[in-house]
Amino acid sequence: MWWGGRGQSFNIAPQKAEPDMGLSGPKSVQRTGMLESRSCQLGSHLASGCLPVSGLSRVQLLRPGSPLKFTPEEILIHGRDFRLLRVAFEAGGLEPQAFQVTMAIVRARAQSSQAQQYAGISLSKAGQSSGPRKPPIPLLETSEDWETERKKQGAGSWRVSPVNERFDVATSLPHYFWVPKRTLDSEVRRAFGHFHQGRGPRLSWHHPGGSDLLRCGGFYTASDPNKEDIRAVESMLQAGHSDVVLVDTVDELPSLTDVQLAHLKLRALCLPDSSAAEEKWLSALEGTRWLDYVRSCLRKASDISVLVTSRVRSVVLQERGDRDFNGLLSSLVQLLSAPEARTLLGFQSLVQREWVAAGHPFLTRLGVTGASEEAPVFLLFLDCVWQLLQQFPAEFEFSEFFLLALHDSARVPDTLTFLRDTPWERGKQSGQFNSYTQIYTAGYSQLPAGNSVNPQLSVWDWDLRYSSEQILQFHNPGYDPEHCPDSWLPRQQPNFMVSGPPSSVWLFSRGALTPLNQLCPWRDSPSLLAVSSRWLPRPAISSESLADQEWGLPSHWGACPLPPGLLLPGYLGPQIRLWRRCYLRGRPEVQKGLSAPTISGLQDELSHLQELLRKWTPRISPEDHSEKRDPNTIVSQSR
């Protein structure tokens, strides 16, 4: 049996372990193509369809439970992650077992889709045996982690609130989060009750210029808050600023259904046997609308990052559920505004904080449970990040390959990071659920004993699945390590906390700011202008004068330098591109040449020469020469 794909860019190359799927084919394929190789999990969350082919003329689509009607010569496995695997039995001499192997895969897939939502399989024996290990990044499960992060951001007027330690405020929220220093836990509890699913306003990120970026769920309008409740809500939204901008997160962004549909269309288009003709490729791509959605996200994030950067204010991202696009926007804004978030560790912490800890329902959205609310918002986010990487190739410490690895990890069930919908579920000992697993899988080959996922392990433990060579590829050689993340910080503005109601409240929607009369929608809430109806905008100020008053900045970036550290992405038609290396990996003709000699080739040459030079001339200080660009040292010095 041999393994291979039409896309020769991907390879089945289990690094440290083999998939424990009851499959036991020889997997001695050489690890090839350092860049793309990654471990592969067959039949689990990856597979979306399995097509045995016989005699090259009979094809059957196998779904769980459907009987195989012939002995296949070849099976095609369509991956959800845009991969397509072809397994031919004849060449490997496995013909006799072809039937069994195929059925095993189909059964494994069926079993996995039911069971693995409760228990991941650990790929890593190494990980289990090595006892407790320190997570590579803070997993934000302790209040210390939150406190460290808060200090790092310099959010002086915020504190870590333990109010949700027992998940009694909201199961989808983490144990800890940041609230204004002056707000008591009782007020937090009081305020959060008036938000959808108890997800009240929390700090996402403190801009060093003084602004705060908050996120919260929708107002729970059916509730009947008393005056004190409203005051608590308002003061939490206001966060001590006199200027508050409420951002209607979903406005101008696609709905979850849109995202899912676009992703499906994109996947169909990118299949190797997609029927789109060369000259119709562009319009077919446009027809998926995926790039359109990427564009809307980038545009909105870019607008919000200007809102955060241009003045000291409180910017509140409000989405009804607060678990999807709030995370996406908040992460993108931080990537655009904070160089720290563009480092490898910074980015991982960002994802851990804004997605994992914030309770993005990974399991549901990635379709692992088979629930109807599938929508790859996280993958949309990764695409946006890739666009930024394309546009600013020297500003990110991580590379496209890191994003690819993360993209693929979203479905690999060896850690709990992406396998739970809420921090509460993740927090539960996975051991408890083994019994469930066995009920579901009774009668079928048992998962090996002790199969529980080590809860200490996370996706960020890359060495479980990737070789050190591959991890080296996560680093963007074009990134300048001298680019010190601290140097960009503007002078810390004095933290003046305003008492009393905010002096101006705006709603950001449709790319424009509209003045609001009050922060909260409830009847009793004090309005700024004594107008009681909610969301009633003042007579529109002309956008021109608003622009002058609001920004006080030149109308063209061309004339003035950007605020330090801020990236403004292009989001016009021609600037949004297709992530070919990710979506077209099933198509060898597209992948060829993508890994042509690049910057890393030069770097290798450079370090080689430096090595030679060092041998030749001991006089020249060798440390200076080698330290900077030797990839090995880059890795070791990254914090």
Binding site: E73, A88, L572, R580, G593, S595, L609
Partner: protein
Amino acid sequence: MPLQKFHYRNLLLGEHDVPLTCIEQIVTVNDHKRKQKVLGPNQKLKFNPTELIIYCKDFRIVRFRFDESGPESAKKVCLAIAHYSQPTDLQLLFAFEYVGKKYHNSASNINGIPSGGGRGTGGGSVQNTPLFETYSDWDREMKRTGSSGWRVCSINEGYMISTCLPEYFVVPSSLADQDLKIFSHSFVGRRMPLWCWSHSNGSALVRMALIKDVLQQRKIDQRICNAITKSHPQRSDVYKSDLDKTLPNIQEIQAAFVKLKQLCVNEPFEETEEKWLSSLENTRWLEYVRAFLKHSAELVYILESRHLSVILQEEEGRDLSCIVASLVQVMLDPHFRTITGFQSLIQKEWVMAGYQFLDRCNHLKRSEKESPLFLLFLDATWQLLEQYPAAFEFSETYLAVLYDSTRISLFGTFLFNSPHQRVKQSTEFAISKNIQLGGEKGLKFPSVWDWSLQFTAKDRTLFHNPLYIGKSTPCIQNGSVKSFKRTKKSYSSTLRGMPAAFKNGVLGDQDLVPRRNSLILKAKPEPPQHPDGRKSGMERYLTEWFSKPADLHGVILPHLSGPRVKLWKLCYFRWLPEAQIKLGGFITAFHKLSLLADEVDVLSRTLRQPRAGPLEACDSGLDKSRMYFRASGPHDASGTPEFLSSSFPFSPVGNLCRRSISGTPLSKFLSGAKIWLSTETLVNED
């Protein structure tokens, strides 16, 4: 301002200067009367303009306000520009005036722009670029490619046979001058077969016009083909490619380009962004670029794999054949992927072969024959550069600058319809101006290849591609060229993803052709496609070629799938502030690459000179650096320079004289305002 400090300066042009030949349309506006008029030559202007808008052929738009000048002078300025930008005669172009002055002043040796033109006069790369004006250039080229069975023919000396052929060209040895003279009458424009290039296997690339003489057609055709067959060492057959039938014609190409321009310049991106991709597709520009690349790749297969000589046949043999002949050579011969080689290719297949630059570029703005074939070629080359970044010595900046240079009417290179026209026109001009030509054939115009006329040495380093790994110039041994043989040893299975051994079964690589079974299984798959069955040799050749890592010093073939043919953004968007990405774009990677490449260069030089101390070696190396961005030594700590943007080294600042219009505050703030006036609407309002 750092922006100004690093402005990429053309020595001939100031920041807001536009060569008269680059002007596409002149529009005058009167704000108060709300009037607009497109100014043609000899037209009257009935109102005093308050604003002048110049639409340039390079997608730039320059606006001038007359707020502070008198009404009459504004009118005069507009009319003067309109007048001079549309000269009635070729000899009124700036180049003639300049050259005339230069000849007059040559005795007194007034300092000025050094004279370019002929070989050896100017500095820079012009010295190395063969212009193919002489017998010896052709002879050298034949030797370089190792062709035998061909000879340089000088029957057209003094343009006695054809006015659109060069004086010297290469023909099959078996055809005598006398025969050629007779045959020539049967060809359109008397353009008989011209040799372009020979493959190391002996196959030749030949271009020729149609045989208009219907009676003689078969006979002459037979004679020519026989002669070309005889010139082939293996006496291989001849493959004829009728370009008129297989490729888009020049009108279609022009129409596509006009649409592309409309899309890039006139339509606000904000409105088209959702439809951007389909609008781009509808221009058909990329489709045409792909068509030329595809056809050229097919001819590469014929030449290289089937060992056949190829004749490019086209009615006049001086339009589409220029593109195809050049692309085939760029793909096959790494020499043409160096700067000097590329320039010699343009001399050989465009300038000397009689591509009608004057009409196709429409320098006099009266031509119905305008068509951007040269740009199409540069675009197709850019696609190859984009796909094989390490195979080319030059950068995309070089290609863009080269394109711009076609619109500067100082250089003789891109000014004429044929070499003969240059001689004829300039001789007439010389006589009328009392210039003694001596023994020269016509006036010597500056050559575009003398880049020192336009750019400083430092700026010229931007032409260099940091990824290119140079190879010593092709060595000629016993007449056969070693340089572009595919090296087998560089083949490595690590890039292939699967061992070659698996090819023996049912599933060869060839089987990777699209098969119709998508996720939704709706039909049985097509019958098996056996490699030897319906698949043509061409497809097999391509599949096999693409399954191996490309030898960058050998043949390169274009990827043609939908996602791989892209829009050349630097060229088409560099003047649009909206499309700019500050501190971003490919250039920031290019910057890093340059630093690395420079450091590599410095270090390898240092290592090659073990005698000298390393630091001295570094110093001496600085002058030799081929990179614009240099590693400032081992302690280099520069981040991304602030002036970098996706349109570097071009700066769209010049376009910012547009007034802002109302928009949402954020989009205005972020991307600048947009007030492109569509030329079409203007015409209608006239």
